[in-house]
């Protein structure tokens, strides 16, 4: 592993092997004192403020720069995202910054797509190339022929570039591939989405129920801190998952559920709670809508039935229901994070929301707190006219009236690019994401990429998608660039600041700068603000100084209580048609969706096949960090495939063996079998983000399986978001 690095350290290693005496000639640590603890002379130490971009939770951090090099990242103590803490990924940002695998210069494809042949280009050359192609395609097909898939703090640079070109086809995949169904289902119930920082008040909770929300492995520092506090204070934790995860390790009650039957479990609990009349009557009577119809609707979902569907003993189901009601209102049922499972996830979230309603936990401690945001008159990076064409993906159309046009359906748009069945979609931009991993079908994405006449990627690494691109713009990492200040909301509302800790290590630029260069090269006259000028204007509006932000990195702007119902006796109110939390959804009725959620049976894998479940490891993010040597060392580069002991035995698979996933003749790269009793026999589990094809991620190319080669590609009929977990696979010895 990591044989690619030819660095000063490698040189030292070579020297060291000659002998300790010689080694001492080449090492700081050996020359500078009597202790191994004296690291290096602390000259020229400076600090720079930032927010972490190793995942998307945006933990505030301070970079320590010694002699012009970033040496250490530590959490900002006052940042409400993380209160001074960083996870493994956050700490590994230093490795990413100096990673020789990074994209180092603009590249233009110089061979067949997929050949990996690129030539180095200057920024002017690459921008002129793209501009000429863009203007040609625009002439030929119209401006709406362009699409953009974007994710990350700089996503709006390229989104706005594509809008300036004149296309409405921009997608933020975190909607359709992650939280879309959850947010729509929650909004139908409570009048607002869950939001990117889940407002579950774990630290004060007396009982928490999580269904596949693997809070300590699909890890966001702030949310995990709250959870650990709650656990330490003795909350009763109910964890439901076909797999015994590290979150399960912290649970008082773990229920191994038959995959795909979560709705049955919750409906059974709801039925029991209503039958026994142990719900929060005060809340239900005063602040909810449609309870009587709902009560009738769920009458058939008995605990006995739920137990049969879920394979969970009746007494466990009853215990979970009673524990929640005993703790109510200081309890919650987690709405989930990535909820793209079975293509009916909006209605599943409706069930989660209804169970929460029975607890009456709205804006009280230990329940669902009010996200305290902070709104101000933010400057604009660039002004432009909104594109006039209809979106190709159907978000906000008659078919999907609830689909948000400002986020789009990444899954549907990609399908339309593959099929070219709406209008010609021939130009694609990709910023900070990797459709070959995060879509439900790589085959479909490959077809879409083949259909593009121009594919431009802005990235820090040679991802699978970059590998197939025509032009690649190398972006500066978060530690090398300014970005517009951001406003974040949790229990407080706050402003976060990003400044470069060091100059770009390679010939890279920030997303906004790249978008500005491209816009200019295309001949657009829209003026992009310089990011620093944007921040100066923002600080002026906010009434804070740049000096303050340089010192602290974060400014807490709004400290209103997140528990207004409990602290100020505020009446719970909801932006739903009834003004109440809705068991019976008026909006669903209006659009002819079932106004109350029912049990929908999901298909089960045929004999000899398994349902592929996938998720995060606590030390990797999406498909972005797997090549980071510091993180890779944590799991010795192994990609585990979890399989149940009995099933493995039948296939002759022993723990530690090399195995492959197989679907319709397609075989994955080898994974390492992890034979365990604590996964449901119907399922296998694979961590997300491996199986890269690109040759540019030198430490992990070809290692492990890529989930998107095996997942389902369903569409939720209400939210339009994806459903991945109905992918069935075979497993064989590699």
């Amino acid at each position: 592993m990591t044989k690619c690095r030819i660095s000063r350290r490698r040189f030292i290693q070579g020297t060291a092997s000659v002998g300790a005496a010689l080694a001492s000639m080449s090492s700081f640590r050996l020359l500078t004192g009597g202790s191994s603890a004296v690291a290096e002379p602390q000259q020229g130490v400076t600090f720079a403020q930032n927010w972490c971009e190793m995942c998307f939770w945006k933990c505030g951090l301070t970079a320590k720069v010694v002699n012009g090099k970033v040496r250490k990242l530590e959490g900002q103590p006052d940042c409400p995202s993380n209160y001074g803490k960083l996870c493994a990924k956050g700490n590994a940002g230093v490795f990413q910054l100096y990673d020789p695998d990074r994209l180092k210069t603009p590249l233009i494809r110089d061979g067949e797509r997929g050949s990996g042949k690129f030539r180095k280009a200057t920024w002017e050359e690459a921008a002129a190339y793209v501009a000429q192609k863009v203007n040609e395609l625009k002439e030929k097909y119209g401006p709406e022929t362009f699409s953009i898939f974007a994710h990350g703090s700089g996503e709006h640079s390229f989104v706005e570039l594509v809008e300036i070109i004149g296309s409405p086809n921009y997608c933020i995949p975190s909607y359709a591939q992650c939280t879309g169904s959850r947010d729509i289902g929650w909004a139908l119930s409570y009048g607002k989405p869950v939001g990117g920082k889940e407002p579950v008040d774990s630290q004060n909770s007396k009982c928490m129920m999580l269904l596949g929300r693997n809070i300590v492995e699909a890890l966001h520092v702030g949310e995990m801190q709250d959870f650990v506090e709650g656990v330490a204070k003795g909350a009763h934790v109910i964890y439901v998952d076909p797999r015994f995860t590290k979150t399960a390790a912290k649970a008082n009650q773990y229920m191994m559920i038959k995959p795909g039957t979560d709705s049955a479990l919750l409906l059974g609990m709801i039925n029991y709670i209503i039958e026994k009349e142990i719900y929060n009557k005060e809340f239900v009577e005063n602040y909810t809508y449609g309870f009587d119809q709902f009560k009738e609707h769920v009458a058939g979902y008995t605990v006995e039935w739920a137990s049969k569907e879920t394979e969970i003993p009746q007494e466990e189901i009853i215990k979970a229901a009673e524990k929640l009601c005993e703790a109510a209102p200081h309890c919650y049922i987690h709405p989930g994070r990535r909820l793209t499972r079975y293509g009916n996830d909006t209605q599943f979230t409706r069930i989660v929301a209804c169970l929460n309603m029975l607890m009456g936990n709205w804006e009280v401690r230990g329940g669902i707190y009010r996200t305290i945001g902070f709104k101000y008159d933010a400057p604009h990076m660039v002004h432009f006219d909104k594109p006039y064409a209809d979106r190709a993906d159907g978000a906000g159309s008659e078919e999907f009236p609830l689909g948000p046009k400002n986020l789009g359906f990444a899954n549907k748009l990609m399908e339309h690019i593959a099929n070219q069945d709406v209008y010609p979609l021939k130009g694609m931009f990709v910023y900070g994401c990797n459709p070959l991993h995060h879509h439900g079908s790589t085959e479909m994405v490959k077809k879409a990429l083949e259909n593009t006449e121009l594919l431009v990627t802005c990235e820090i690494y040679m991802t699978d998608t970059a590998w197939l691109s025509d032009v690649i713009f190398p972006e500066s990492t978060y530690l090398e660039r300014y970005d517009p200040v951001i406003s974040t909301g949790r229990r407080k509302g706050y402003i976060q600041f990003r400044e470069p800790a060091v100059s770009p290590v390679f010939d890279t630029k920030g997303g906004w700068e790249i978008a500005k260069i491209l816009s200019g090269a295309m001949g657009h006259e829209n003026e992009f603000l310089d990011v620093q000028e944007y921040n100066r204007q923002a600080f002026e509006t906010l009434g804070i100084t740049e000096e303050y932000m340089k010192k602290h990195g974060v400014w807490v702007a709004n400290e209103n209580t997140p528990y207004p119902v409990e602290d100020e006796g505020e009446e719970p109110s909801f932006r739903t048609p009834s003004g109440k939390a809705e068991f019976y959804s008026n909006i669903c009725e209006h659009f002819s969706y079932p106004p109350m959620p029912s049990y929908e049976e999901n298909p089960v894998p045929p004999e000899g096949e398994f349902r592929l479940l996938f998720g995060r490891l606590s030390f990797h993010t999406h498909a972005r960090t797997q090549n980071n040597a510091w993180l890779l060392a944590l799991h010795k580069s192994e990609v585990p495939l979890w399989i149940h002991t009995e099933k493995a035995k039948a296939l002759g698979i022993k723990d530690g063996m090399s195995v492959r996933l197989v679907k319709e003749g397609f075989k994955s790269n080898p994974c390492t079998a992890r034979v365990v009793d604590y996964i449901h026999p119907q399922a296998v589990f694979l961590p997300y983000g491996f199986g890269h094809e690109t040759k540019g991620l030198t430490r992990i190319t070809g290692k492990g399986a890529r989930t998107s080669d095996f997942t389902s590609n369903l569409t939720d009929p209400i939210s339009g978001a994806a459903g991945f977990h109905n992918g069935f696979v075979k497993v064989e010895i590699a």
Binding site: T15, A16, A37, A39, G90, Q225, K246
Partner: protein, 191 residues
């Protein structure tokens, strides 16, 4: 070092708070520029028992135990490994000849050979960082606040308070391999 004379540094892990996120391992690596494939601290994960309806999984961090009677100090032929007055077992890299005797002598498997430097390597409780008013890197970063560090001779230190709290509440407190008489200074606390 007069100021250090009465100090005795120690660390405790509040096991219930550890979630095996491995932030400590990477923070330590960054702080000390440890070679990519080595770590000065680890987290062991175990499942017990293997197959039953009452599964449990535990996460146990570990690192150098800074023993009062440290085998690595005893076996070191050059006195590179030494016990400081403040309790830290340290390695003087100038004296280390890379003989590696210390590595198998450690009953806690806390040492490794640093190929980049040609010396034995292990946790130093983040000297000198802890004299700059900071906590060790692993403590600073730990999102679950599982790690508690301080001067066990100071009743007001975080670690003294954590151990007192554990004693008052009759939490389970243990050290590793007590039978060996190494007198380790890493404590495990579990409710």
């Amino acid at each position: 070092m007069n100021a250090t004379k009465t100090k005795k540094f120690a660390m405790a892990y509040i096991v219930d708070r550890c979630v095996d996120c491995k932030a400590c391992m990477v923070a330590c690596k960054a702080e000390w520029q440890i070679p990519d494939n080595d770590f000065r601290t680890h987290i062991d994960t175990g499942i017990a028992p293997a197959a039953t309806d009452r599964l449990s999984m535990h996460f146990l961090p570990h690192q150098c135990n800074h023993c009062d009677d440290a085998p690595c100090v005893t076996v070191c032929p050059t006195k590179a490994s030494h016990k400081r007055e403040d309790g830290v077992v340290d390695i003087d890299n100038r004296k280390c000849v890379g003989c590696r005797y210390c590595i198998p002598s450690c009953p806690y498997n806390a040492r490794f050979f640093n190929n980049e430097l040609g010396v034995a390597d292990k946790c130093t409780f983040c000297l000198p960082r802890i004299y700059d008013g900071l906590m060790p890197a692993c403590v600073t970063t730990c999102p679950g606040k599982a790690r508690v560090f301080g001067d066990i001779n100071d009743p007001e230190s975080e670690i003294s308070k954590a151990l007192k709290d554990a004693a008052d509440n009759r939490y389970r407190v243990w050290t590793l391999r007590k039978d060996l008489g190494t007198e380790p200074n890493i404590y495990y606390i579990q409710k």
